[in-house]
C-alpha cells in the first residue's frame, strides 16, 4: 500500500525519508515540488498527484508536507488518514510537530515509522500501543538510560495488541485517579453584510484526559443527548449502548484522547454570540477607502466573550492602513496584506471599535470585492448548544476517581461577508 514517505519543508527540502518496500528514488518528489511551485499557497497543492509510475498523496500540516508514494490502487483517504496519524504521533511523542523536532529525534521518528507500518500496511497506530513498544523521551529516562544502559525499546509485546481492547495498555497505575472531560464547541457560521446568518452550525468535540488505574469501564451520560445530530466515536465507545440508551459507555485509552465529535443540526437555531457592525468602502476615485468595524455581544447566555480577534485579508492593492482601535491593538502585515485586530475581552458597556483610512497603491483600480472578516472568540464555561454532561459512572474498579467537566465555546470558521 504505502511505499515510501518523505517529509518536506515549505522551501522544498526533503529532510526525512522512509521506505517500507524497495527504495524509491527521491527524484519522484520532483513532480510534487513542481506542483508546489505552481500553487500560490501551500494549501493549494493538490493532495493527489498522478505521475507516470507512481501516485503521490500528500498532506500539509504544521508547516510540513508529508508525502507518500503509492504504486497501486488504494483508497486515498486510507493514506491521508494515516499521514495525519503520523503527524499526530509526532505531536504526541515530542509535544509538537515541526522540522526541528523531527530532526532532533530522527532515530526515534524513524523507529516509530518502522513500527507503524509493515510492508506499507498499518501495524500499530494506537498511541497506547506504540508507547509500550517505544517509550517517549523524558529527561529523567534519558539520564537513566545513559547511566544504566537500558533502552527505550520495550521487549515484550504490548498487551493492547492482543486483547480486544487494543487502545488501552495493561497495568496502568496512578496514585491520583482522575478523569477530565472537555466539551469544546465551535461555531461555524457565515454572516452576510446585514448580519443575517447565511449558514451556521455547531461542531463539538468531547476530549478526555483519563488517568485511571486498572481497567475502568466508564459511562458518560448527557442531560440532553437528543441535541446531537451526528456523532463519531473513538473506537472504544460501544456503539450499541449509544444507539439504545444514548449514553457513552467505554473502556478509555490511557491519557489524552478524543472521545467523540458531534454535530448539532443547522436546523436548530444556532446562537451567534457576537454581532459585527462593519463598513468597508473604497472611494470611486480609487485613491483609498475607509474601514469601520465594531464588535458587540449578542447571544452570550450571560457569559463574557473573550479572546475576540478579527482577521481581514485586505485586497492586494492596499498600500497602507492608518487605523485607531478603541480597545486592543491591531497589526498589519504589508507582505501578506493581513490585518489582525486583537480585541481581548468584550465589554458590553463600551464596544470596541476599529476605524481609519486605507490607502491604495497609486493608479490601482477600486477593489471589486470587500474583504470578509474572520472572527475568533472564546467563551469559557459554556457549551453554546446547551449540551450538558449529566454524570460519569465508573464500573470495574474500586477506587473513587476525581471527575471534572469543562465547557468551552469557540469560533470555528466564523466569517462575516462585507
Amino acid at each position: 500500500m504505502i511505499h515510501s514517505l518523505f517529509l518536506i519543508n515549505p522551501s522544498g527540502d526533503i529532510f526525512l525519508e522512509k521506505h517500507w518496500k524497495s527504495v524509491v528514488s527521491r527524484s519522484v518528489c520532483d513532480y510534487f515540488l513542481e506542483a508546489k511551485e505552481k500553487a500560490l499557497e501551500p494549501e493549494d497543492v493538490p493532495p493527489v498527484i498522478h505521475t507516470p509510475r507512481h501516485y503521490l498523496i500528500s498532506i500539509y500540516r504544521d508547516k510540513l508536507f508529508f508525502l507518500s508514494v503509492i504504486q497501486t490502487e488504494v483508497p486515498p483517504l486510507f493514506v491521508i488518514e494515516f499521514l495525519h496519524r503520523v503527524a499526530e504521533m509526532i505531536q504526541d511523542y515530542f509535544g509538537e510537530c515541526s522540522e526541528t523536532v523531527v530532526k532532533d529525534n530522527m532515530v526515534m521518528v524513524y523507529e516509530l515509522l518502522e513500527e507503524m507500518l509493515d510492508n506499507g500496511f498499518p501495524l500499530a497506530t494506537e498511541s497506547n500501543v506504540l508507547k509500550e513498544m517505544i517509550r517517549p523521551p523524558t529527561i529523567l529516562r534519558s539520564v537513566v538510560n545513559t547511566l544504566t544502559g537500558t533502552s527505550n525499546i520495550g521487549d515484550t509485546l504490548p498487551t493492547g495488541q492482543l486483547s480486544t481492547i487494543p487502545w488501552r495498555r495493561a497495568g496502568v497505575k496512578y496514585t491520583n485517579n482522575e478523569a477530565y472531560f472537555d466539551v469544546v464547541e465551535e461555531i461555524d457560521a457565515i454572516l452576510d453584510q446585514s448580519g443575517t446568518t447565511v449558514f451556521a452550525e455547531i461542531q463539538g468535540v468531547v476530549g478526555a484526559c483519563v488517568k485511571l488505574s486498572g481497567m475502568p469501564d466508564l459511562t458518560l451520560s448527557f442531560m440532553n443527548p437528543r441535541l446531537l445530530d451526528d456523532v463519531s466515536f473513538h473506537p472504544c465507545v460501544r456503539y450499541k449502548r449509544w444507539e439504545s440508551e444514548r449514553v457513552l459507555s467505554f473502556i478509555p485509552p490511557d491519557g489524552n484522547f478524543t472521545l467523540m465529535t458531534y454535530h448539532v443540526n443547522a436546523q436548530n437555531l444556532v446562537a451567534i454570540p457576537v454581532y459585527v457592525k462593519q463598513s468597508i468602502s473604497f472611494f470611486e476615485s480609487g485613491s483609498g477607502g475607509r474601514l469601520d468595524v465594531t464588535v458587540g455581544p449578542k447571544q452570550t447566555m450571560g457569559k463574557t466573550v473573550e479572546g475576540v480577534m478579527v482577521t481581514v485579508h485586505l485586497p492586494k492593492t492596499i498600500l497602507s492602513v492608518n487605523l485607531t482601535a478603541t480597545q486592543g491593538s491591531y497589526t498589519y502585515d504589508n507582505g501578506t496584506k493581513l490585518l489582525v485586530w486583537d480585541i481581548g475581552k468584550l465589554n458590553p458597556q463600551k464596544l470596541p471599535n476599529l476605524r481609519g483610512s486605507l490607502s491604495l497603491q497609486a493608479g490601482a483600480p477600486k477593489p471589486e470585492e470587500n474583504p470578509s472578516l474572520n472572527i475568533d472568540l472564546k467563551i469559557q464555561q459554556l457549551a453554546i448548544s446547551g449540551l450538558k454532561v449529566n454524570r460519569l459512572d465508573m464500573f470495574g474498579e474500586k477506587y473513587k476517581p476525581f471527575k471534572g467537566v469543562k465547557y468551552i465555546t469557540k469560533a470555528g470558521k466564523f466569517q462575516v461577508r462585507t
Binding site: E43, S58, I59, E81, V231, F233, Y239, S244
Partner: protein, 1009 residues
C-alpha cells in the same frame, strides 16, 4: 542534496566519518555500538548512503541488546537487497529467533526475514510463513499474513502455496489477523472469491472489532464480493430513483408487472447482514472507514437506504483539507445521480474565502449539481458573492457554474444571461473573458432574441485581451452575422489590423468570420477577406495555413475548386447544435467510489473492477458453515453473575441454554435447510443440556423461570409467531436484559442478530413492548430525565441500608402498563446485608414487578435495581416492605403525576385532531421572565412531566404529548404565550383527576424561574 551531487571533499569527509563508525561498531561496548547505529540510522533517514558499513553492522545482528538489535534490523531491511551475499550471514540468526518462546521476537524475526528482498531465501521464507500461520500467537499469525504479500512480490511463482496459507488464515477467528489476511488476499488472489464464501459471515460479524485499517480493506473486499453473489436490490424501488422518473408515468399494466417483480425480490439475508454490520462504522473516527462504508452503501444498498450515509459524509467536511478534497469528489459524483441525498445539506457546501482553490471548485461543482427550480434563487444569490471573490480563478469557475445552471434550468436562463451581461462591465479581465465565453454558449442554445447582447459584445472587443474571449466574440459575430449586419464587418476590419499579433485561436476564428461574412455580405468584406487569407497563408502556424487554404478553396470560386464550393454556405453556416454544459464528474461513476482511480479519473494500476449484479444469484448455500465450533464468551460486565454463553459459529450462530427454545423456527425462512437445521438444533440442545447440568444452583433457579423448551421439526407460520412472542417474554427476564445490554455494548460482533427476528431486535433496542402498544401512538424516548432522586429509606431507619429511588423514564420492560423505578441500595453499615428483597405490599392489588433478591451487599457497596410498578394512573403511593435477612422496613413510593406518562410522538395535525376529542382544563399564568422562550419552556415542561415535544408551526405555541402508562389515555399539553409574560396552559385528557394535577404542577414550574 541527492547523493550524487556531493563533491569530492564531501565524500572524503563521509568516508572518514564512516571509519570512525566502523571502529565504534567493532568495539566491545554496547553503548558505543548503539551510538554508532543511531548515527547510521539518522544517515539513512536523511537519505544518505551507508551501505559500505554493511559488514560491520551485520555482525551485530545477534546482539543481546534489544535496542541495538532493532536498529540492526532496520539497517538490514534497508540494504539487504544491495548486499545479498553478506545478508545471508544473518539468516541463521532469524531462523533461530523464529523458535523463540517470546512472541514479539518470533514476530519481529519473521518481519525482518520476509523484508529481506533476497531471492535465494524464498524457500526459507515460505517455510517460515507456513509455520507462523499456525503459531499460537495471533500477533505472529498477523505478521505471517503481512509476509505473504512480501514473498509474493519477491517471487510471484509461489502464488499457489501462498493461496493455501491465505485460505488457512482466512479461517482464523482473531480480529487481529482478519484485516491483514484480507489485505494479502487482495494482493495475491483477489479473484479467488471462492475462498471467501465460508468466511463471509464470520468476517461480517467480526468487522466491528477489527482495527480500523483492516476494516477499510475488508469492507472494500466485501463490496466486490457482494456484487458477484447477490442480485440487484435496485429494481425493486425504481420509484425512489430520481433519475428514472419514467417509472411514474408508466402505464398501469407495466406497473403491476413491476410490482410482481418487486414482490419476487427478497434480499439475501447475507446481503442484509453486511449492510447491517457495516452501518455502525459510519460513526468511526477514521475517515477512511466512513467513506468505505459510504461507498459500500452506494454500491450495494437499496436506493432508499443510501440516505443514511449523507450525514456522515457531510460530517467529514469538517476534517482536514485533504480529507475534504476526497470526500467532496465523491459527493460530486454522487450528487449528479442523486440530488436529493445532499440537497438538505446544501449550505454545507457554501464556499468560504479561506478554502483552498481545489476545495472551492469542488464545492461549486456540487452546488451546481444540486441546483433545481426550488433552490436556484438561493444558489444564484450565493454565486453572486463568489463572482466578486478576489480569487479570480474561482470567480471564473463561478461564471461557468452560472452558465451550467442557466442551461439546466430553463426558468432562470434569462436571469442568468442578464446577470452575465452585467458582468461584462466588470473591471477584471478574467471575469469578463469568462463571461463572454459562457454567454457565447448560452446564446447558442437560444439565439433568437439576443441581438443586443451580441452588439454589446462587439463593443467589448476592443477592450478584451484574453484570447479565448476574443475568439468567442469573433465566432458569435460570424455565426449571427445576419442579425448584426452593420457591426460584423467593422469587427472584422478591426481584427484584420491586429491579425499578425493575435493568438492562434483568435486567428482561426478571424479566418472563420471572414469566410462567413464573405458568403453573406461579400460586397463589403471581399477585400478584407482576401487580406486576411493572404496573411493566413504565410502564418507560422501550420493549422492556420491549412485552414486558410481550405477556406480559400471553399469560398473563392476558381477553376480548381471542386464541387464543394457550391455547398460552402451550407457547410459554414449550418445550424450548429448547442453545446451541452456538463459536469466533469459525469462519467466518474464508472469507478468504484472512494478509490484512487476515482480521484485521478483514470484506472490506477491494480484497480479491481466492480462487477455488475448477477441476473440470478449464485448458490447461497456456499456460505453455510457446517462445522460447529462453539466459542465461549464469559460475560461479567453487567450481569449480577457470570453467564456462559455458547455462540455457535455457523449459519445459525446462536444456541445457548437461554436460547434453546428450538432454533429451527426462525431459521425456517430458509426452507431448504430446515431439515438440516433440525439436526443442528438437536445437537445444540444436547449441548445445552450438558452445560446446564454443569451450571450451579443459582443458574438453575433462573432456568426454572424460563419458558418450557419446545422442539418443532416442521415449523409453521404460527409457530414462528410464538417464538417471537416467547423471545419477547424472555426479554422480561432481567438476566436476559443484562446479557443483551452487555453483549450489545461490547461484543457487537457476536450479537446473534440472525436468531433474533427483526421485530425482536426492534423491540429490544427501541420499544420494549411493541406487541401491546397501540401502533398509532409511537412511544418515543424521554425528552429529559431528571436526575433528582428521592429518599426511599434513610440509613438511620434502615439500620445501615439506605435506598433512594428515581424515575428513569424508560418504558418498563416487564409490562407496558408499569412505570419503571430505579432503586439504588447502599450498605452504609459495616457488615454485609444479606437477602435484600421485597416483602408485603399494599394496596394488596398493587401490581408490581420486584427485583431479584440480592444475596449479599457488602459494606460500602451499592447496587442499582429496577422495579416496575403499575400505579393504575393515580398518584396513590405504592407501599411495600423492603426486607433484609433480619429486618423489614415499610417504604413507599409516591410518584409525581408527571412520571405516570410516557412520551409519544405525533404530528401537529394529529395533535389538533386528538385535542378536539378530549375534554380540557386550562389556566392563564404569569410566566417567570426566564421562561419566555422555547427552550426553557420545553425544559420546564419536560422536568415536570415525561412528555414528548410535538413540533409546532407557531413560535408562541408549544405542544407536548404523552399517554398514561396504565391505560394509555392520551394527554396533550399546550402552552400558548400571550404577550410579554402571560401564557395559557391547556391540558386535554379524559383523565379528569390527572389533568388538574398536572396543570397545577406545570403552573408552579413555569411561574417560578
Amino acid at each position: 542534496l541527492p547523493p550524487r551531487t556531493r563533491t569530492c571533499s564531501d565524500l572524503f569527509l563521509l568516508s572518514s566519518r564512516n571509519d570512525d563508525l566502523k571502529e565504534m561498531l567493532e568495539s566491545n561496548k554496547d553503548s558505543l555500538k548503539l551510538d554508532a547505529m543511531k548515527r547510521i540510522i539518522a544517515l539513512i533517514a536523511k537519505g544518505k548512503n551507508a551501505s559500505e558499513l554493511f559488514p560491520a553492522v551485520v555482525k551485530n545482528v545477534a546482539s543481546k541488546n534489544i535496542e541495538l538489535k532493532k536498529l540492526v534490523y532496520v539497517y538490514l531491511v534497508r540494504y539487504a537487497e544491495e548486499q545479498q551475499d553478506l545478508a545471508l550471514l544473518s539468516i541463521s540468526t532469524f531462523q533461530r529467533a523464529l523458535k523463540d518462546p517470546n512472541q514479539l521476537i518470533r514476530a519481529s524475526a519473521l518481519r525482518v526475514l520476509s523484508s529481506i528482498r533476497v531471492p535465494i531465501i524464498v524457500p526459507i521464507m515460505m517455510l517460515a510463513i507456513k509455520e507462523a500461520a499456525s503459531d499460537m500467537s495471533p500477533y505472529v499469525r498477523k505478521t505471517s499474513a503481512h509476509a505473504i504479500q512480501k514473498l509474493y512480490s519477491l517471487d510471484p511463482d509461489q502464488k499457489e502455496h501462498l493461496i493455501e496459507v491465505i485460505d488457512k488464515l482466512l479461517k482464523d477467528k482473531s480480529t487481529l489477523v482478519a484485516g491483514s489476511v484480507v489485505m494479502a488476499f487482495e494482493e495475491v488472489c483477489p479473484d479467488r472469491i471462492d475462498l471467501i464464501h465460508k468466511n463471509y459471515r464470520k468476517l461480517c460479524n467480526l468487522l466491528v472489532d477489527v482495527e480500523e485499517w483492516g476494516q477499510v480493506v475488508i469492507i472494500s473486499m466485501l463490496t466486490r464480493y457482494a456484487r458477484t453473489q447477490f442480485t440487484s436490490p435496485w429494481r425493486e424501488d425504481g420509484l425512489f430513483d430520481e433519475n428514472s422518473e419514467t417509472a411514474f408515468y408508466e402505464s398501469d399494466e407495466k406497473k403491476t408487472e413491476n410490482e410482481d417483480e418487486k414482490k419476487s425480490y427478497m434480499m439475501d439475508p447475507d446481503h442484509r447482514l453486511l449492510l447491517r454490520n457495516t452501518k455502525p462504522l459510519l460513526q468511526s473516527r477514521n475517515t477512511a472507514v466512513v467513506v468505505s462504508v459510504a461507498q459500500l452503501y452506494w454500491h450495494l444498498a437499496p436506493k432508499h437506504e443510501v440516505g443514511v450515509i449523507t450525514k456522515s459524509l457531510v460530517r467529514l467536511l469538517r476534517s482536514h483539507r485533504e480529507v475534504q478534497y476526497i470526500v467532496l469528489q465523491n459527493i460530486a459524483t454522487m450528487s449528479i445521480q442523486r440530488k436529493g441525498m445532499f440537497e438538505p445539506y446544501m449550505k454545507s457546501f457554501y464556499v468560504r474565502s479561506t478554502d483552498a482553490t481545489h476545495i472551492k471548485s469542488l464545492k461549486l461543482e456540487i452546488l451546481t449539481s444540486l441546483a433545481n427550480e426550488a433552490n436556484i434563487s438561493t444558489i444564484l444569490r450565493e454565486f453572486q458573492t463568489y463572482v466578486k471573490s478576489q480569487d479570480k480563478e474561482f470567480a471564473a469557475g463561478t461564471i461557468q457554474a452560472i452558465g451550467r445552471c442557466a442551461t439546466n434550468i430553463s426558468e432562470v436562463t434569462d436571469t442568468c444571461l442578464q446577470g452575465l451581461v452585467l458582468l461584462l462591465s466588470n473591471r477584471d479581465e478574467t471575469v469578463v473573458a469568462e463571461s463572454v465565453v459562457v454567454i457565447k454558449k448560452l446564446l447558442q442554445t437560444q439565439p433568437t432574441q439576443h441581438s443586443d447582447i451580441i452588439k454589446h459584445m462587439a463593443k467589448l472587443f476592443d477592450n478584451i485581451a484574453v484570447p479565448m474571449a476574443r475568439a468567442s466574440i469573433l465566432w458569435l459575430m460570424g455565426e449571427y452575422c445576419e442579425r448584426v449586419p452593420q457591426i460584423a464587418p467593422d469587427v472584422l476590419r478591426k481584427v484584420a489590423k491586429s491579425f499578425t499579433s493575435e493568438e492562434d485561436i483568435v486567428k482561426l476564428q478571424t479566418v472563420n468570420l471572414a469566410a462567413k461574412l464573405y458568403l453573406t455580405n461579400s460586397k463589403q468584406t471581399k477585400l478584407l477577406t482576401q487580406y486576411i487569407l493572404n496573411l493566413g497563408k504565410y502564418d507560422q502556424n501550420y493549422d492556420i495555413r491549412d485552414r486558410t487554404r481550405f477556406i480559400r478553396q471553399l469560398i473563392v470560386p476558381n477553376e480548381k475548386s471542386g464541387a464543394l464550393g457550391k455547398y460552402a454556405r451550407r457547410i459554414l453556416l449550418a445550424p450548429k447544435p448547442a453545446p451541452v454544459l456538463e459536469s466533469t464528474y459525469k462519467d466518474r461513476d464508472r469507478y468504484q467510489l472512494g478509490t484512487l482511480s476515482h480521484t485521478i479519473n483514470t484506472k490506477a494500476s491494480g484497480y479491481l473492477e466492480l462487477s455488475d449484479w448477477p441476473a440470478v444469484a449464485p448458490d447461497q448455500s456456499v456460505r453455510n458453515v457446517e462445522v460447529i465450533e462453539p466459542v465461549r464468551i464469559h460475560l461479567y460486565l453487567y450481569c449480577p453473575f457470570p453467564l456462559t454463553i455458547q455462540a455457535l459459529h455457523q449459519g445459525w450462530p446462536m444456541s445457548t441454554q437461554t436460547f434453546n427454545t428450538s432454533s429451527s423456527e426462525v431459521e425456517s425462512d430458509e426452507e431448504k435447510s430446515s431439515s438440516q437445521s433440525s439436526e443442528e438444533s438437536d445437537k445444540s440442545s444436547s449441548q445445552s443440556e450438558k452445560s446446564s447440568s454443569e451450571s450451579d444452583s443459582e443458574q438453575k433457579k433462573k432456568t426454572t423461570k424460563k419458558p418450557p423448551q419446545k422442539k418443532t421439526v416442521k415449523p409453521t407460520a404460527k409457530d414462528r409467531y410464538h417464538t417471537i412472542m416467547k423471545y419477547t417474554t424472555l426479554s422480561n427476564q432481567p438476566f436476559f436484559r443484562s446479557y443483551l445490554s452487555s453483549l450489545g455494548s461490547r461484543l457487537h460482533g457476536f450479537v446473534p442478530k440472525k436468531c433474533l427476528s427483526r421485530s425482536l431486535c426492534f423491540s429490544l433496542y427501541t420499544h420494549p413492548c411493541p406487541l401491546s402498544c397501540a401502533a398509532l401512538l409511537q412511544v418515543s424516548g424521554p425528552a429529559f430525565v431528571p436526575e433528582k432522586s428521592h429518599d426511599l429509606l434513610h440509613r438511620m431507619t434502615g439500620k445501615g441500608l439506605s435506598a433512594q429511588y428515581q424515575f428513569p423514564r424508560q418504558p418498563c420492560l416487564y409490562q407496558p402498563s408499569m412505570v419503571s423505578v430505579q432503586i439504588s441500595l447502599t450498605n452504609t453499615s459495616d457488615r454485609p446485608l444479606e437477602q435484600i428483597h421485597i416483602g408485603d405490599r399494599s394496596p394488596t392489588g398493587l401490581n408490581m414487578h420486584c427485583f431479584n433478591t440480592i444475596e449479599c451487599l457488602l459494606p460500602e457497596a451499592s447496587v442499582t435495581v429496577s422495579l416496575g410498578i403499575d400505579f393504575n394512573d393515580s398518584t396513590q403511593a405504592a407501599n411495600f416492605q423492603l426486607c433484609t435477612k433480619e429486618d423489614q422496613f415499610s417504604v413507599s413510593i409516591q410518584p409525581a403525576v408527571g412520571e405516570l406518562f410516557l412520551p409519544i410522538t405525533m404530528t401537529e395535525q394529529d395533535f389538533r385532531q386528538e385535542q378536539g376529542k378530549l375534554s380540557y382544563s386550562s389556566a392563564t399564568i404569569t410566566m417567570a421572565a426566564a421562561n419566555t422562550t422555547s427552550q426553557p419552556i420545553s425544559r420546564q415542561v419536560a422536568t415536570v412531566a415525561n412528555l414528548g415535544v410535538v413540533p409546532s408551526g407557531q413560535d408562541n405555541i408549544h405542544r407536548f404529548a404523552g399517554k398514561t402508562a396504565s391505560t394509555g389515555a392520551v394527554v396533550l399539553v399546550t402552552v400558548e404565550l400571550r404577550g410579554e409574560s402571560t401564557a395559557l396552559i391547556t391540558i386535554n385528557t379524559e383523565k379528569s383527576v390527572m389533568g388538574p394535577m398536572l396543570l397545577r404542577d406545570l403552573k408552579r414550574a413555569l411561574a417560578q424561574a
